[in-house]
Symmetry: C2
Subunit: 254 residues, 2 copies
């Protein structure tokens, strides 16, 4: 556990009619969640809202006041449905300005591919006043940091580049450690064991994730703790208990 | 447009530490969103919350009071981390009871695979009082309907079976129609066209979804409307405008 014991948390607002229509499968939740784990920050809530300013403002205000950090994905491109900058500025009571460095980045990028910086493309240099930029080596259009809010792209591989640029820059706590034990059993066979082992190990959580593969039922048990010793002790107890009732298990999960 | 013109809406609460940790990639948002579209119901908000009763209660109460229908996924299995039934009952001020038909279904199912209905498995027959069951042909454990709230499994293919069972049983409005035009262009080349075409066509929305494939940038433009004629007219105008600036386009999207 880190010195203060503080658990750092983050919220995520996904702005996207395309996610709510089912057209696009979201990949940013898992990507951002995994990245946050490594920074010692826990993703605590996600909201997916449509491309409607008032809905974005409400979600941003609800989550920025509840968690240490807030991430958004989507709506920072050059088209008319890209309204995230305006919505976040409104939520914070700020005006929207052209960031000179963003304008330079876009000019350099479009010159490099033989294109002009049109009015539409210049939209991607708009930020809430006082914001900093998050470099994006994929397309020249930066992400945006304002206070503890991070505005990322909707396209997952562009968001990945922005996360790389942020790695190690956010204060976090001890990362939540986890380990998985897989077992070819119906989870209902072992539910009492899971409950009792979790209860006996303070600071550890056990999640049970059933699956059906190769014609057989199985489950992965994910044990989580911020303390490595507690985690190992909980895993040992669980494996012993599974052995006692004659079940084989697979360290690392199935 | 349907007679009343009412737009039916739904919220979705995803209960899952495994989604928030990044371990599991969510597939239920897209699956439920697509299914709702066909029922003439619009998915309007999604919240992902951890396996913590108070957080589930808050999300359920926020969304059930805002939208016509509420779906939840996850947390209805037999293990200690399955607390959705209790949380939804608490949100509604109801007690939790064993549903006799659910008990029968589970008895039949476990007898058919040569197993007993243990105390842990009987947990899957617990429902908020007054609830109806949603059949699940995959595993014997039913989904649950209480008022306009639908409690579904977390495992996507089990949820798929429950959605099948519900098909055609929910009142909805005119389905939101959509069509896609794909174009090998940077979206910033056409942002003004998109804005103007959308503005000229009441009741139509145009979403722009950029991509980077085969070394080239492109974008799909998704046009949506509940009126087929409005939709076609908007598509025609957009295609004309793209042709005028010399762009080829692919009906149906790229």
């Amino acid at each position: 556990m880190n010195a203060s014991g503080k658990i750092w948390t983050a919220g995520l607002v996904i702005i996207g009619d395309e996610i709510l229509s089912g057209r696009t499968h979201d990949k940013n939740i898992a990507q951002i969640a995994s990245w946050l784990q490594v920074q010692g920050i826990r993703l605590s809530e996600v909201r997916v809202v449509p491309d409607v300013e008032a809905r974005i403002v409400d979600a941003v205000n609800a989550l920025r006041n509840t968690y240490d950090y807030l991430f958004t994905t989507g709506g920072i491109g050059p088209t008319h449905d890209d309204i995230t900058v305006d919505a976040v500025a409104k939520a914070l009571g700020l005006t929207v300005v052209i960031h000179p460095d963003a304008r330079d980045m876009l000019e350099t990028y479009y010159a490099s591919i033989g294109k002009e910086l049109t009015e539409a493309r210049l939209r991607m240099a708009r930020v809430p006043e006082g914001a900093e930029l998050i470099p994006n080596h994929m397309s020249g259009a930066p992400g945006i940091k304002i206070d503890s809010i991070f505005l990322m792209a909707g396209v997952p591989h562009i968001t990945a580049g922005m996360l790389d640029a942020l790695t190690g820059t956010l204060e976090g706590g001890a990362p939540l450690l986890s380990n998985t034990i897989g077992c070819w059993t119906a989870e209902s066979e072992v539910s009492e064991i899971l409950r009792e082992v979790e209860k006996a190990h303070d600071g550890c959580q056990i999640g049970s994730y059933p699956f059906f593969r190769e014609g057989r039922v199985g489950a992965n048990f994910v044990i989580r703790s911020i303390d490595a010793d507690d985690l190992q002790s909980c895993i040992d107890t669980l494996c012993e208990a599974l052995s006692e009732i004659g079940l084989d298990f697979t360290p690392g999960g199935i």
